[in-house]
């Protein structure tokens, strides 16, 4: 049996009186790409932020068998946030130097290869603040992958990326799991999830509504593809029909 990369048990996140995540449980094993799918405001980002310790939460989180989120655990994690989390006063070169320095490991060849793959070379000495949204996202991706983390947490990682970069990123994710890594991946784009996820959890109003492989999810919902299965699972298919009729 594969090692557990992430165990989330009865996770609850509240913003004031609003419950964003409601007793959510799931686990990810090494070699898996777990897709967290849900509509806007379903609790995907809040779940990822909890795993990173960025928001107050109740419940259990065990990352790579090292316990709940801590600065020690962060050395084994790579993160791409929905909005790139970067130090914008720095240049990409300075940011990679900083990330490598605080992680205590820096594989220059890997960083150079990633920079070349994402065509960031000409932007390396420009302040991150001055880069386009797509290039900022690429800097975040390189920073997340440069230290070969065991677990990747990707919150809408393809935001603002061009087609070529998306293809490269998908290949990198696949290579990462082939090498024994694990991925928690949040998206609302069904086609992407359909192609790369090993297992899928459909989340709505902070709760897991369905979980399994792509085939299992489709069978549970009695649907022919993931989009239909998703809409049926969150009970939006009938609602959409009536809404469209009213328009």
């Amino acid at each position: 049996m594969a090692d557990s990369a992430l165990e989330v048990t009865k996770l609850t996140v509240k913003y004031a009186e609003r419950v964003a995540v409601n007793e959510l449980s799931f686990s990810i094993k090494s070699g898996e790409i777990y897709g967290l799918l849900g509509p806007n405001g379903a609790g995907k980002s809040s779940t990822i932020k909890s795993v990173l310790g960025l928001v107050k939460y109740a419940g259990g989180i065990d990352i790579l068998g090292m316990g709940p989120p801590s600065s020690r655990v962060m050395n084994s994690i790579g993160v791409v946030m929905e909005t790139p989390a970067l130090l914008e006063a720095l240049t990409p070169r300075e940011f990679f130097e900083f990330a490598g320095s605080v992680r205590g490991s820096f594989d220059q060849k890997r960083v150079e290869a990633l920079v070349e793959a994402f065509e960031l070379g000409e932007y390396m000495d420009m302040p991150i603040a001055s880069l386009s949204a797509g290039n900022k996202q690429k800097v975040a991706v390189v920073s997340a992958m440069m230290h070969r983390p065991k677990l990747l947490l990707l919150d809408e990682p393809f935001n603002a990326l061009d087609v070529k970069s998306v293809r490269i990123m998908k290949g990198l994710i696949q290579k990462h799991v082939d090498d024994g890594g694990a991925v928690l991946f949040s998206t609302h784009i069904m086609e992407v999830a359909e192609k790369i996820c090993t297992r899928i959890g459909i989340i709505n109003a902070g709760k897991i509504m369905a979980e399994g492989t792509l085939q299992e999810i489709e069978e549970q919902a009695n649907a022919g593809n993931l989009e239909d299965a998703f809409l049926k699972t969150i009970h939006a298919d009938e609602q959409i029909k009536s809404l469209l009729e009213g328009l």
């Binding site: 913003y15 004031a16 990173l52 310790g53 960025l54 928001v55 107050k56 801590s70 600065s71 020690r72 655990v73 962060m74 050395n75 994690i77 993160v79 946030m81 909005t83 989390a85 970067l86 130090l87 914008e88 006063a89 720095l90 240049t91 070169r93 300075e94 990679f96 130097e97 900083f98 990330a99 490598g100 320095s101 605080v102 992680r103 205590g104 820096f106 220059q108 960083v111 070379g121 390396m124 000495d125 420009m126 302040p127 603040a129 001055s130």
Partner: protein
């Protein structure tokens, strides 16, 4: 058809919220958005009431104790702070405010109305404090009669305050092909603030009779002489008018920029490719702290301790005999206060991290390790700033033992920096949205943290007339405070 005033009011609310929470910069959203919006709305009201109250009290006291001229500088200093602090948050909001202009364009707002919308919304960030200062000082001046010291000082303070806020917006809003020059300009841009801080420490020490009359021709100090005769009153009026014109010009220039700013950092830097430079963890943090603070709008904070140092040295040279005759008082009133003033520096370093707070949290950087970097910088700057003071003491033949308090006097700064780390963690956890009252309470606690060891130093010195024991006690108390703070920080 839309109303420019209504659009401006909406833009103001957005700027206020973004400035208050810094959520666009930090990437964190407030844990309670409703309370953050409410707090941001009340921020300037609370500021106007509290600072207006202090301004009124200080001015009235000046009149009652027979020093009406002092009320001009009291009014100047407090009116200045009311305006600048109230609009300072705006500098966060305007760092990425270009989206507001884009949004307005998509809503068919006439581009010709943008400057009016920007001007109105910019003024709304400081309107209550301006009204509060003017009304309070006008009433006081009318009540006590004679030359309107309080009112004139307030008008000048408001004008310089508006000019300073505008400079902050202007300085941070444009790129440059000469980034180093830009950083230097950012450092220098805090000069008006420094001048006001200097003034606030000299208010109670001066009177027109004891002052060189050449000062009656200088800006701000001329108001002190306003009641001494018609010619002095005219000089004051001329300076006041000049300040108003300056403020107006800078205000219009700044308001033209606040809706078009996309980036705060220099954008045209290009270098020949170089290799990567990997450091130790603390070394990397130190470098990032320095780079971030120098490239951000708060770069001016670096000038503050050194400005105070220069003022203190100038003051010491003007009464050298004072140092040799009362070394203790000199140490307490200048070098140790300088150490406390340096508490602003770690706060500024933390503030520069708001932009990218999540980046720090997704890297293996514990709050303690982050704090250590701030401590190293703060203590290093402390010693750089204290060395001239030590030289001054030796120059005036003070005992070598009198250097001990300065050598060990980094303690209060060390402790308050640790407290600053807790404050920062709390700020980030709340998405940058702490209420004004909460911030004031934190400010007071910081002062208490500084004051306890300093107070112990003073009391033990008075009892023992020795520098060594009080200095050691001051250091031990500070280290205990710091240890408590660090334990609390590590548990967060």
């Amino acid at each position: 058809m839309y109303s420019v005033r209504k659009v401006a009011s909406t833009v103001y609310k957005e700027l206020l919220f973004q400035g208050y929470t810094a959520s666009r910069l930090s990437g964190m959203r407030p844990s309670n958005s409703r309370s953050a919006i409410r707090a941001s709305k009340w921020n300037k009201v609370i500021l106007s009431v509290t600072y207006g109250g202090i301004l009124a009290a200080m001015s009235v006291i000046s009149y009652i104790i027979g020093r009406p001229y002092s009320s001009s500088l009291e009014a100047f200093v407090w009116s200045f702070f009311m305006v600048t602090i109230s609009s300072l948050n705006l500098s966060f909001a305007t760092q990425q405010s270009g989206y507001i202009k884009d949004l307005l364009l998509t809503l068919s707002v006439n581009e010709g109305d943008f400057s009016r919308i920007a001007t109105l919304s910019f003024f709304m960030t400081m309107d209550f404090p301006v009204y509060s200062a003017i009304v309070v000082t006008a009433i006081i001046s009318l009540l006590f009669g004679g030359f309107p010291y309080s009112f004139m000082g307030s008008v000048q303070g408001i004008a310089i305050g508006i000019a300073t806020s505008s400079v902050f917006v202007i300085v941070g809003s444009k790129g440059s092909s000469r980034p180093r020059l830009r950083s230097i300009f950012r450092v220098v841009s805090i000069l008006p603030l420094m001048v006001v801080v200097m003034f606030s420490s000299f208010i109670m020490e001066i009177s027109p009779a004891g002052m060189n009359h050449a000062l009656s021709l200088l800006p701000v100090t001329s108001t002190f002489f306003g009641g001494e005769g018609m010619i002095y009153a005219i000089v004051t009026l001329i300076y006041t008018a000049a300040f108003i014109v300056l403020a107006l010009l800078l205000f219009l220039r700044a308001s033209g920029l606040i809706l078009s700013t996309q980036e705060i950092f220099v954008t045209l830097r290009r270098k020949a490719s170089r290799s990567f430079n990997i450091r130790g963890s603390i070394g990397a943090l130190l470098r990032v702290d320095m780079v971030q603070s120098f490239r951000s709008r708060i770069a001016g904070i670096w000038a503050l301790p050194f400005g105070y140092l220069i003022a203190a040295i100038a003051s010491a040279f003007s009464n050298g005999s004072y140092i040799s005759s009362n070394t203790f008082m000199f140490i307490v009133s200048y070098p140790l206060i300088l150490g406390i003033m340096l508490s602003f520096l770690p706060y500024a370093l933390y503030l520069s991290e708001i932009r990218g707070a999540i980046a720090f949290r997704i890297l293996p950087i514990s709050p303690i390790r982050n704090l250590l970097s701030k401590e190293v910088i703060a203590v290093a700057v402390y010693y750089v700033a204290e060395v001239p003071m030590m030289a001054l003491l030796l120059f005036y033949r003070a005992s070598a033992l009198s250097l001990v308090p300065l050598l060990l006097g980094f303690g209060p700064l060390f402790a308050s920096t640790a407290f600053m780390a807790i404050f920062f963690e709390k700020t980030v956890k709340e998405g940058g949205a702490l209420s004004t009252l909460y911030t004031i309470v934190y400010g007071i606690v910081t002062l208490i943290i500084d004051a306890i060891p300093l107070g112990a130093f003073i009391i033990i010195y008075i009892l023992m007339h020795s520098y060594i024991y009080p200095s050691l006690v001051m250091l031990v108390i500070s280290l205990v405070e710091a240890a408590v703070m660090m334990i609390s920080l590590s548990k967060k």
